[in-house]
């Protein structure tokens, strides 16, 4: 829900596309069960199925962290160049 500020900025920017990809990636990886429903290669005796998913806990954490940092960057640059109400649309386009 972008507001009409003096400087109209596009809602979809390359930065926001990257944020969206960071947030969508875990869904693709985790819902594609057949890509990891196997026991080999095992890691320290733990079958692939288990360590792969636990590895994704770390990957998705890193991705969320990147998304968070980029989002802060995005907001700061908007606040810096926009008017007072340029705080608009936080969260709006990250879907």
């Amino acid at each position: 829900m972008p507001e009409s500020t003096e400087v109209k900025r596009p809602v979809i920017t390359p930065l926001r596309v990257i944020i969206a990809l960071c947030l969508i990636a875990p869904f693709v990886a985790m819902l594609w069960v057949s890509s990891y429903a196997k026991t080999d290669p095992a890691l320290g005796g733990i079958p692939f199925f288990y360590w792969y998913q636990m590895l994704w806990v770390l990957i998705s954490t890193a991705l969320t962290m990147i998304a968070y940092k980029l989002w802060q960057h995005d907001q700061r640059s908007r606040t810096a160049s926009g008017s007072h109400t340029s705080d608009d649309n936080k969260g709006g386009a990250s879907k």
Partner: protein, 539 residues
């Protein structure tokens, strides 16, 4: 199971329980506000929690005693299928990153305490708000009851209560635990579980760290553990396999839909929202999505304990006892006591938050909306405190009078039900396009389908409510009922919205404006809505 009472373990358990009780009562004075007789104070801790308190509170809230008992129990029983809890908690965080900050902002701006408050404000519909509130209360009650089941499992293994004696002696420890819980929740509100969560998570992390290193060493490494599991799941020669190390073709849909459906549902639960709204700023929430996954890692390790229970030769009739029994068999008595305390306290934190959340829903969306519209903040807080007691007593009666499977069945239904509030809540956060009547109809269809479908699932031990998965109509694969019902819900909502818009059906009044969804603490108009009293009292 060893005979008699495990004295050392019980002593350690009681020590931690007493410590937590003291903390619970002292919490009332922590970050105390001048204006304490309001729902913002009692039910949301003054909306003042920072990143770390929120982290502990949410972790303590979402990863419950029942989780600790049930997830490894599922692995113990069937293997891979029970591991869906891990992808489920992975998917939760990108989701809440996207929508919870918006809910936080609009709630701060308008003083919303519950999700139903928001739905009423957004769509101007008391009916829709009532539907969301009732769903929330219905879904929370059995969840509280299951926390008691978790405590009971621990007490059983320690030899307290158990099968001997009359019902009063048997249930006395549980009654005491609950009386204490009820008393400090009443006096301290959300501050009590917030403080106790520190102890709970500290203990849990300690126990998991020790268990994941110590037990595999004793059992001869993960290779030995998984081959023992493989052997058990293969079943008797010529018989059917009872489980699997990796899910086969036919169960992959179930795995994925359970993970997705549960992830969508988790933050619809009132207790998740209560913990979120108690945070200080929207950045606290986003920052938390980057540190909360630590709990998912812990959950994954914990799930592996299910395999260890198999390898250790733990034989229990009731799968819920597998992990407590594993601890008792493997650990020295004193550390088993620590592990049991971790599970026991792990039940108290979410039970407190859940009862507060259910009480808030009742107070704001039933009492204030329908019974006494001119209630003052002090009256609201008072009603909420009383209702939190009623809710807990209800859960206690539920557990003591009915079979455990009833609580588990209802919790299963609760997950399906709560997911049906997603379109109104999350949809509402992003768009006003949905029509209030369409949302209500979609909700009703989802609830009805979900309930009937779950009723029709039979298992070897139960005729109804035997599981949460069923064939998805039109696709033919087995999937999570909650997610099927959710899709049905969305389709009905969209179609009816188009029809109602074409008929120009009257819209409710939207009291929110677009910039409310991005407001942050300190913005004009937000700070003034906050209780002014939290300053100068942090210590």
């Amino acid at each position: 199971m060893k005979d008699g009472v495990n004295g050392v373990a019980l002593g350690v358990f009681i020590f931690f329980f007493l410590a937590v009780t003291v903390i619970g009562f002292m919490a009332a004075r922590w970050r105390k506000a001048e204006n304490e007789a309001s729902l913002d104070e009692w039910g949301l801790g003054g909306r003042s929690f920072g990143t770390w308190v929120t982290w502990f509170l949410l972790g303590g809230d979402l990863y419950t005693a029942y989780t600790f008992v049930a997830v490894p129990a599922a692995i113990y029983a069937a293997g891979a299928a029970g591991f869906f809890a891990v992808p489920y908690t992975i998917l939760v965080y990108p989701l809440i990153f996207t929508f919870l900050p918006r809910l936080w902002s609009v709630s701060h701006k308008h003083g919303y305490v519950t999700t139903s408050d928001f739905v009423r404000g957004r769509f101007g519909s008391k009916g829709l708000s009532l539907a969301v509130a009732v769903t929330g209360i219905l879904a929370t009650m059995p969840y509280i009851a299951l926390q008691l089941v978790g405590i009971q499992a621990v007490l059983d293994v320690m030899g307290v209560g158990g099968e001997s004696g009359n019902w009063f002696v048997k249930d006395l420890p549980l009654l005491i635990a609950f009386a204490v819980l009820a008393a400090y929740t009443y006096s301290s509100g959300l501050r009590a579980p917030a403080l106790i969560a520190f102890v709970k998570d500290g203990l849990i992390y300690l126990v998991i760290a020790v268990a994941i290193i110590y037990i595999p060493i004793k059992l001869g490494g993960f290779d030995a553990i998984f081959s023992a599991a493989q052997h058990k799941f293969a079943g008797p020669p010529g018989g059917k396999p009872t489980g699997a190390i990796a899910p086969g073709e036919s169960s992959q849909w179930t795995y994925a839909t359970l993970a997705l459906g549960s992830a969508l549902a988790l933050f619809m639960y009132p207790h998740s929202i209560t913990a979120t709204l108690s945070s200080r700023s929207r950045n606290v929430i986003r920052r938390n999505t980057t540190i909360l996954p630590l709990y998912s890692l812990m959950l994954g390790l914990l799930a592996l304990l299910g395999f260890m229970a198999i390898a250790a030769g733990v034989k229990v009739k009731n799968g819920q006892l597998a992990i407590p029994q594993l601890f008792e068999d493997m650990f020295p008595d004193w550390f088993a006591g620590v592990a049991f305390a971790a599970i026991g306290i792990g039940a108290l934190v979410p039970a407190a938050i859940m009862s507060i959340a259910a009480a808030n829903l009742f107070t704001r969306n039933i009492y204030k909306d329908f019974l006494k519209p001119d209630a003052t903040p002090a009256q609201e807080a008072k009603v909420s405190k009383l209702v939190s007691l009623v809710v807990k007593v209800g859960a206690l009666v539920f557990v003591l009078t009915m079979d455990k499977t009833v609580a588990i069945n209802f919790q299963l239904l609760g997950g399906i039900w709560i997911l049906q509030t997603f379109p109104a809540l999350v949809g509402g956060l992003f768009t006003r396009w949905f029509h209030r009547w369409a949302l209500l109809a979609g909700w009703a269809v989802g609830m009805l389908y979900g309930t009937l479908a779950a009723y029709g699932v039979a298992s070897p031990t139960q005729k109804h409510f035997g599981g949460s998965s069923k064939e998805i109509p039109g696709i033919g694969e087995i999937g999570y009922i909650g997610l099927t019902a959710f899709v049905l819900n969305v389709v009905v909502t969209v179609v009816l919205t188009v029809v109602l818009r074409a008929l120009k059906a009257p819209d409710g009044i939207d009291e929110t404006s677009p910039e409310d969804y991005t407001a942050d603490a300190g913005d004009p108009g937000v700070a003034t809505e906050l209780p002014p009293a939290t300053a100068g009292s942090a210590h």
